[in-house]
């Protein structure tokens, strides 16, 4: 035992809460020196919080950090750099109109004069390039570099600051496959030189390809740490999404009617030229809840935004959407949120605080939001605030929104009650189609049950519901049919009765279950 060198990083009992949300709970982690360690988990599982603690952005509420066997206090990123930790962020922190050399030196200058630092850095960069295959022209402007090269500059910055431990946060999210391959070659080279690498990702393929060990996070907890060679994508997927079904929703069997929403060949390319949706086909019938499962960031948000009438600026769209048989425009003035509401689409957006509510508005003002053109809310040229308030009071009572005070600002309500304000507004309009994204994110258990019952009641009234959630439990409990989205397309369709979390987990990770189980799956 004494021959074993101290691990590069050891975390003991790290906990961190943001208000009522426990982002990290009692995390233990050991990363041996000279290995590549993967940390995998869904968005919101707490990976980024944990790494931010390691890099000094947050202070943990409890727990201990050991670097090279010695306890350290990491108060800020300077302390992290001194401890030999370097970080490559998902969104690069580079000065676009500086050269590579200037970016590398920035913040690590030797003295008041720039020239000696620059010439030292030039030599150092040449050495690093030769040693690790990190070739970048030191005099190129960063804004003229490809994304892959910009990432190399970030890695060079960390190495220039003598980082022994390199943390990469979702490094391949912005890379082409060829660039990702090159990155992996660089990482292997760094490992061979004795560097320790922590790779944060939600892509199983990368974990399997490059890591030595892998730790799985779920809902703020570290649920497993295993050797990569001793596990497989199916097991990891299951660990990621969780096996226990906590939720049970009592609902009668669905009696689907005529198709309400038909989507054919929907494609979307965003302003950066990344294809977010790669040909989506789906259909929802009256009296049916269609659940879309998937790890966040695989196109679900874009799908909801397009259906709701607010695709991100600069997006290019293609395909066909029909509501009740009538085609809906994809873009343009006839395709905004107001037109969608008029056509009969209600929408509980994924991000209620940024989109669904105006946090500084009162509850009653928010309950009219999006429907403020409704004839019953007008009185001549003015808005009929009394009518809006009366309407709000009714919804507050029927949805048991607490405190039952319509004059309170939305930001003063708890997450669950904020969500109830949005759900009350959208559901009580009795829309033909309800879009509902992450209906219970950050919502307490009592409100979850209430919101689920309302969704089922809307279905039973013969309405169509499109449910998007990263909570697999919720998808399984509520949906009448499940589609799994991965990388902008539909990976597969399952009925909740026959789907298993492992099976869905594989689809969510972009792996065909039959292949992952080596022929042992449902086929």
């Amino acid at each position: 035992m004494t021959a074993t060198p101290a691990p590069a990083i050891e975390l003991r009992g790290i906990s961190k809460a943001f208000g009522p949300v426990q982002a990290n709970r009692d995390i233990d982690l050991v990363v041996p020196r000279g290995t590549i360690h993967g940390i995998i988990g869904e968005n919101g599982a707490g990976k980024s919080t944990l790494m931010s603690i390691l890099y000094g952005f947050y202070r943990p509420d409890a727990g201990e950090i050991l670097v090279g066997g010695k306890p350290v206090a990491i108060a800020d990123s300077q302390a992290a750099i001194r401890a030999g930790i370097g970080m490559v962020f998902q969104h690069f922190k580079l000065v676009q109109n500086f050269t590579v050399l200037e970016n590398v030196v920035l913040g690590a200058e030797d003295g008041r004069l720039l020239r000696p630092s620059l010439s030292r850095a030039r030599g150092e960069l040449k050495r690093l390039a030769a040693e690790y295959g990190l070739q970048v022209d030191p005099d190129a402007l960063v804004e003229e570099l490809s994304v892959g090269h910009q990432q190399r500059v970030e890695i060079l910055k960390a190495l220039y600051r003598r980082a022994d431990i390199l943390i990469l946060d979702e490094p391949t999210g912005v890379l082409t496959p060829a660039e990702a391959d090159h990155l992996f070659r660089i990482l292997r080279g760094l490992k061979d030189e004795g560097k320790t690498i922590i790779l944060i990702t939600h892509k199983l393929r990368e974990i399997m390809e490059i890591t030595d060990n892998v730790s799985v996070m779920r809902r703020g907890e570290m649920v497993a740490s295993v050797r990569t060679a001793e596990t497989g994508p199916a097991e990891l997927a299951e660990l990621m999404v969780g096996r226990k079904v906590l939720l049970r929703v009592d609902k009668p069997p669905a009696r689907p009617g005529a198709p309400v929403l038909e989507v054919r060949g929907l494609r979307m390319v965003d302003a950066e030229g990344v294809e977010r949706l790669r040909g989506i086909d789906l259909e929802i019938r009256a009296g049916e809840i269609l659940g879309i499962a998937g790890v966040a960031g695989n196109g679900q948000t874009q799908l909801l935004e397009i259906l709701g009438g607010f695709p991100e600026a600069g997006a290019r769209l293609q395909g066909e959407i029909r509501l009740g048989g009538r085609p809906l425009p994809l873009q343009g003035p006839g395709a905004d949120g107001r037109a969608r509401r008029r056509a009969g689409i209600g929408h509980v957006p994924e991000d209620r605080q940024a989109e669904g509510l105006i946090m500084d508005f009162t509850a009653w003002e928010n309950i009219a939001f999006g429907y403020h053109h409704a004839p019953e809310f007008q009185r001549g040229p003015l808005m009929d605030n009394a009518a809006i308030r009366a309407d709000a009071m009714g919804k507050i009572q029927r949805f048991d929104i607490r405190p039952p005070n319509p004059d309170l600002a939305a930001k003063s309500f708890s997450g669950g009650n904020q969500q109830k304000i949005v759900v009350a507004r959208e559901v009580e309009r009795n829309p033909e189609l309800l879009l509902i994204g992450q209906p219970t994110r950050g919502v307490d258990i009592g409100a979850i049950e209430f919101i689920h019952k309302r969704i089922v009641a809307l279905r039973d009234a013969g309405r169509a519901v499109l449910l998007v959630s990263v909570e697999l439990d919720e998808i399984m409990a509520l949906s009448d049919r499940i589609l799994v989205m991965f990388d902008g397309h539909i990976m597969g369709e399952r009925l909740p009765a026959e789907a298993t979390t492992g099976d869905l987990g594989c689809l969510m990770a972009g792996v065909e279950p039959a292949r992952a189980d080596a022929g042992g799956g449902a086929g």
């Binding site: 607010f310 003035p333 949120g337 989109e355 105006i358």
Partner: protein, 364 residues
């Protein structure tokens, strides 16, 4: 939960800021060897101590109400309109063109027409920056500042080359015809048999300013457009979700804002100078920013803050006249008021919030 009672938020905080600003102003006056008490007395006497003083104070107040409301409306849409100066200048051009175009038989006919000209020119001057912001993302702070300079140059050209009467050496328009002169508040008082504020510039536009306060309040808090402006100003993603067009709101809010700034010209060009001169706005566009900030972007607050700045303007003029305190010091006092009520607002607010929180804990 609310951090402190509304009265503390709306009244106590600006009041303490104001006292601090005056305290430091007093130190500055002491430092140049004058008596702060004497200075304050001259200012209060000169601005508020006689109907003559009030006649000037209310005139300045009227200017600041319009420019303050202009900044306020844009602010609710999340836009910072620094261009009140240029919009008010162009409003003056609108007034002059309308008044000089026709032989107006009576001021009551000329006033609405001139007001429309002023509002239209001010609004159009705000339209280009608004359009650039909405369509091209050009920052409205930068473009409205640039448009102030363009307005000054354009006005210069118009006065020298177009509006200047033949034979005149003065870069100013012809005098407005007698029939288009707006009644002064002093004349209106005389009509009621009261001797008030003789030879002061305060005029009927003051009532237009009060009406503008009321209309702006209705617009922002009682109409659908106001609702959409506020929603867009608080959260653009939410506005998009609700189907509120950012382009439409940006353009409409800036049109209203520019029109309000332009309306100031009814007061200073038509009501006071009775012709268009160079640099007629005299910085009122910028004072509007401070007025809106201090008035907490509410029309009633704007009215009160405009009154305060009207007092500072008039009192400052008196100070320069009757004491050896230089006029520049007035600018220092105004700057301190802006600094404390605007920029350093949180310096007073945060300790107050903590104080009220502590009081509540003790009470609970």
């Amino acid at each position: 939960m609310e951090r402190m009672p509304k009265w503390a938020d709306v009244i106590l905080t600006p009041l303490i800021s104001l006292v601090l600003a005056f305290a430091i102003s007093a130190l500055v006056i002491l430092a140049i060897g004058e008596s702060p008490a004497e200075a304050l007395k001259v200012m209060v006497q000169g601005a508020l101590g006689s109907s003559y003083g009030w006649g000037f104070t209310l005139y300045y107040t009227t200017n600041f109400v319009f420019t303050g409301l202009a900044v306020m409306v844009a602010y609710h849409a999340g836009l910072f309109n620094i261009g009140g100066e240029g919009q008010a200048a162009m409003g003056g051009l609108g007034v002059a063109l309308v008044v000089l175009a026709l032989p107006w038989p009576h001021w009551a006919l000329a006033l609405p027409a001139a007001a429309m000209g002023a509002a239209l020119f001010g609004a159009l001057w705000a339209l280009v920056p608004a359009w650039l912001q909405a369509r091209r993302g050009s920052h409205i702070v930068i473009t409205t500042i640039m448009f102030n300079f363009i307005a000054a140059a354009a006005l210069n050209y118009m006065l020298v080359n177009v509006l200047r009467p033949v034979g005149s050496m003065d870069p100013a328009s012809a005098r407005f015809p007698e029939a288009a002169h707006l009644p002064k508040l002093s004349e209106m008082a005389l009509g009621l048999g009261v001797e008030w504020g003789r030879n002061t510039p305060a005029n009927v536009t003051f009532f237009l300013a009060i009406a503008a306060c009321l209309l702006v309040w209705l617009l922002i808090w009682r109409t659908r457009l106001g609702y959409e402006i506020r929603a867009f100003g608080k959260s653009e993603p939410a506005a998009l979700y609700a189907g509120i067009s950012p382009v439409r709101i940006t353009v409409l809010a800036m049109l209203v804002s520019g029109a309000l700034a332009g309306l100031m010209a009814v007061n200073n060009v038509m009501g006071e100078a009775e012709r268009l001169v160079l640099n007629a706005v005299e910085g009122a566009g910028f004072i509007g920013i401070a007025v809106a900030l201090m008035g907490r972007n509410h029309p009633l607050g704007v009215l009160l803050a405009a009154l305060l700045f009207g007092f500072l303007y008039q009192g400052g003029g008196e100070l320069a006249l009757w004491t050896s305190i230089p006029r520049e010091l007035i600018v220092v006092i105004q700057a301190l008021v802006i600094l404390f009520t605007g920029a350093l607002d949180n310096m007073v607010r945060m300790p107050l919030e903590r104080l009220f929180a502590a009081l509540r804990r003790k009470g609970a």
